[in-house]
Symmetry: C5
Subunit: 308 residues, 5 copies
Amino acid sequence: ERNLERVEELMPFKDTQTVTWIRVVGLHRVEQIEKLGELFGIHPLTLEDILNVHQRPKIEFFEDYIFVVMRTLSYEKGMKSEQISLVLGRNFLISFQERKSDIFKPVETRLRNNKGSIRKKGADYLLYSFLDIVVDSYFVLLETLGEVIDTLEDEVLSEPYPHIVKDIHLLKRDLNYAFKVFWTTRDEMNRLLREDSSLIRKRSLIYYRDVYDHIIRVIDITETMRDTVSGLLDVYFSSVSNRMNEIMKVLTIIATVFIPLTFIAGVYGMNFKYMPELEWKYGYPAVLLFMLLIGMGLLFFFRRKRWL
Amino acid sequence: ERNLERVEELMPFKDTQTVTWIRVVGLHRVEQIEKLGELFGIHPLTLEDILNVHQRPKIEFFEDYIFVVMRTLSYEKGMKSEQISLVLGRNFLISFQERKSDIFKPVETRLRNNKGSIRKKGADYLLYSFLDIVVDSYFVLLETLGEVIDTLEDEVLSEPYPHIVKDIHLLKRDLNYAFKVFWTTRDEMNRLLREDSSLIRKRSLIYYRDVYDHIIRVIDITETMRDTVSGLLDVYFSSVSNRMNEIMKVLTIIATVFIPLTFIAGVYGMNFKYMPELEWKYGYPAVLLFMLLIGMGLLFFFRRKRWL
Amino acid sequence: ERNLERVEELMPFKDTQTVTWIRVVGLHRVEQIEKLGELFGIHPLTLEDILNVHQRPKIEFFEDYIFVVMRTLSYEKGMKSEQISLVLGRNFLISFQERKSDIFKPVETRLRNNKGSIRKKGADYLLYSFLDIVVDSYFVLLETLGEVIDTLEDEVLSEPYPHIVKDIHLLKRDLNYAFKVFWTTRDEMNRLLREDSSLIRKRSLIYYRDVYDHIIRVIDITETMRDTVSGLLDVYFSSVSNRMNEIMKVLTIIATVFIPLTFIAGVYGMNFKYMPELEWKYGYPAVLLFMLLIGMGLLFFFRRKRWL
Amino acid sequence: ERNLERVEELMPFKDTQTVTWIRVVGLHRVEQIEKLGELFGIHPLTLEDILNVHQRPKIEFFEDYIFVVMRTLSYEKGMKSEQISLVLGRNFLISFQERKSDIFKPVETRLRNNKGSIRKKGADYLLYSFLDIVVDSYFVLLETLGEVIDTLEDEVLSEPYPHIVKDIHLLKRDLNYAFKVFWTTRDEMNRLLREDSSLIRKRSLIYYRDVYDHIIRVIDITETMRDTVSGLLDVYFSSVSNRMNEIMKVLTIIATVFIPLTFIAGVYGMNFKYMPELEWKYGYPAVLLFMLLIGMGLLFFFRRKRWL
Amino acid sequence: ERNLERVEELMPFKDTQTVTWIRVVGLHRVEQIEKLGELFGIHPLTLEDILNVHQRPKIEFFEDYIFVVMRTLSYEKGMKSEQISLVLGRNFLISFQERKSDIFKPVETRLRNNKGSIRKKGADYLLYSFLDIVVDSYFVLLETLGEVIDTLEDEVLSEPYPHIVKDIHLLKRDLNYAFKVFWTTRDEMNRLLREDSSLIRKRSLIYYRDVYDHIIRVIDITETMRDTVSGLLDVYFSSVSNRMNEIMKVLTIIATVFIPLTFIAGVYGMNFKYMPELEWKYGYPAVLLFMLLIGMGLLFFFRRKRWL
């Protein structure tokens, strides 16, 4: 285990019998990477794909190596995705990452401690470990997303703020993006399982099938999440319209109770000379009582109609 | 038929000619299960799938055994699902469950009573019995769900409570989950029918095809339910908007009838010195009559417009 | 042509050279049917499917016979469906129905009159006649459904009653059910066309292809109907919202015309000591005129805005 | 080129070396058509399909002939469709139509003028000419539909009339119908391209592929139209709701400006003995000014909120 | 590198060993192009496709050449598309365009400077360069569209103008059109990769696979954009309904606060002879206070209900 600065130092590792893991972190030193590519016989188009970190997940079979692109995903106020390129040769595995991340820590640790069966099991098992780690990291992502969705759901039901629709759509877009990454990974894994490459031994296939199984479960969960998020919009619109209805109902009731009463008051506010009621001794309390009765009647009517 | 505590006691049953059903209930005693796996030659990844009870339904063909994962579903304030793992060997069948449930009671009973053809027909027929029981339990689930949907439908039409939209979405999610389980089961059953494994005899295939037929019918019913639940939202929104319209109509009518009347009252409430009507002897009753006529006219107009 | 009560009486017909049509109506005499099954070598699972009348349409190929399940559909306040099971042997055809219906009348008549080519053309042609009759009955169903949809459409456009949304959804569900029956029938017919069974002669295949053609046309029509019914909901919601808008507009206009006028009346109803207008001789008619002008102005404004 | 009344007169044309085009217009003379079918060896089921003019587009391969059903479409207050049946034999082509239409005019003209390569190129080229003409007529239809859609779009945006939703749905249904015809034609053309029939020579295939290309373009355009028409509904609902909002805003503003003012007038209309303001000399103008200020303030508030 | 006016001048280039790129700009000189077609053995139907510039992207394999149709897309107040037809022969490549555009500038430059490997690598590599340039130009288009979508999104959220729904639908239509072009291009590229043509050498295939990869990424981005634009409509409708609710709330509050107050004022405006309150010394301020309390109470009620 060494930190090397120049590609030339890798020369001796090329043809050893043991498995070598070369880890390249940072893709700005293009020249060094091109030298590395030349040394291990990597096609220029593969190198291009490694350097342009916007590839979809894919697995390409070349004569002397298999080129694997995976994408890690993390969610922190928006989906973030990083590309991990892996080149599997006869007895070496080269990994390329833009930034140093902790995702491969477990493999590192196991290799260092010399415990675990990784060291013995060949390069294809090492590749499996990496794929497995990336796919398992998707479960962590989905947990985060699940919490985000739960929070959003609570807010939609209790107190929807104005731009929540946009937030829902952003989440939807992120989920769609993740879904696409998962689905493409699944497709490519499937192809790897059926392709007949000498670089991956028969008895390793069962491990790859396990990864495939996991990615399918990831897709299942994501699909359920997409349904939920789609449903959130319906819930939101119904929640908003419920509040609106609540408000409208109060308006209706207050207005419809007082409008007739105000009319009655208006009638007795007219200045006609001959209005017998106005002369009555108990005209005023009688009218007040009459108004009360009308108001009560209307409220009773509304209650019976179950509008209250 | 015995209750064993330690795996070693199973030794003698491994190579008998008769069919042995080993039933493992509770998955917390990992070590014992691993020993069992070793004894019957089960691959570590299979054991992992048995212990991690979030697998999708699946059927995997190994050299010496077939590994089947089924999921039972039950609905009680939300969908609950339990994993049942089955390992079919040459002349043994091992079932793994987290909790002891009554689902396999019928097979038990038949085995105990020694009646029924299960004992004679070999391990693959026993496996069929289990699959059949699980798929038949789906019909029970669908009946429960059908009742839940009917209740919800009634509530949507009579008196939609505020969070019914969320309940509909939860039900939809549960249905989607069940649908996915059914669909995957169907896919795997289909694969089992076409796969050529020596562990399942030709003449047993017709039974498996029958299970396949049942699962397809389960899927059909579930699809209809999903349509119904989707429709519920439309019905809900239309029901809410109907109530809203009803309320708005009353507001409109009361308001539009009284607003002009109030205006007239307002006119005769003005304090102009020279307002001839005010001096008339029958001005007051005339105005009241006039108001009545206007009110009636408006009501008549609304009725003719069919708003009432 | 005879009416038999006991299965044993069928013995002599089993091995004749001529084609025999055995018609079983009513499925409650399970024992007799099981005897029949034994006599003609029908598999127990097939008998189970015959007795459990909730099968999907299907065609199963056995060594000695072909088992066909068809479903007749009729619509009368909801979709009704009956199962017709057919067993085609070398020179016999057995049909199973729950209730006696007139659907096979035409075949009966033709057989009785000895005219038509049915008697000569073998059992597979007889089976074709039955399939043809069932599929043709679907066209009748679709005509009925077409009328139901037309009625619903008229009601949606003229006078939507409150629960019409539910009716639309029920119709949609029925259509989906019929669609599923048609589609499955199509699938199974397609399989029959490609399957190579000695029981169906090459030269009969062209007739089966004709049935297949008809079922595809049935599916086409059903799809169009589903589109129409889906559209009905949109039309309904737009129709409701149109009525609502109409009502709101009247409210707006009446309210907005009278609210300012009432305000003016209110102003001159104030009791200030010094209000010069009140003393004017023509103050009252002047105010009335002013109110009229304002009212006319508002109406003119609304008309110009095309709200009236 | 002759107009024949009786089928017998066709006898001599059956076995000539040159290509013969027999054109049958009007399908009511069933007997003559059956005679024709017998003469040219056409299967009874084919004749049935020719006479029943509700077939889907299809191409059927028989031993001695190819049977082609095409549908012409025209739009004039609803979609109209006519069936054109074509029977391609070794050196004859028979076309069947219900009514005489001008659609095959170009071929007629070219045949009459003896110019163009149609006469020399054999019956399969003649068939191609017919298919080409029918598919090209679809482009004309799409142009008409395009104009209908444009008109509808303008009306939706400027002045939506009440039943426009129904018109949109009718158009949608027509488009779906056309789409289905196009799609089926495409499928059948595709099958023709892959089928290996001796009646269509290899070197003619490139022409058929050209027709196939055209039908795909037709489908593309139709899909775009379907999207547009679907979008029309959204535009309509948003347009209606925009108008509604406009109206509601005016109501809100007029009502909310005048309601407080009316209240103030009401206050000073009260008949309390001790109301000091009433005695003030400038109480009346002061109140008017106060009302003006409040009205202006509210309008200013609305403008700042961008509601005006 | 020469500008030629007449096709005859191309004679000598037909059979050279080196690769010749013939660039035809402007398709109005039909005769010259037909001569060119004759000279290089291009089928009349291909020429027709070149001249009719509404083809879908496609790749057709002929015996002596491959015919490729690509579409460039640009967005400037609506999608614009131009057809580029390419004919790849053994050692020549002919490109046809309607208008002179700068899209092939990079290839031109590289050819002129004699640097770059284009000149050496054969006609199939030249074709690849052209495909690559066209597909890369799609990324530029998508960037433009991305900005248009962002602008629209901002407008939807801040200040939706009336016809924004139509703009969204136009954008959607444009995106669908682009999507169709991309998808068809992908399909045809895929076919090219699997087709076995002697005109494209094995070792060039990896470059074509790279173009295929790019077009898939283009499709991915477009799909995300389509989701976003679809979401825009939801956001718009929710935004409009939010504003509407805001307005309605203010109306409700002002109206419901003042309607009861106006009623009270109306009561004390009645002219009954015996109304004791009117005689009280502090009746007027008491009523004002009472009104104030009621108004405050209602506001407090609204605030507690979170309507304010």
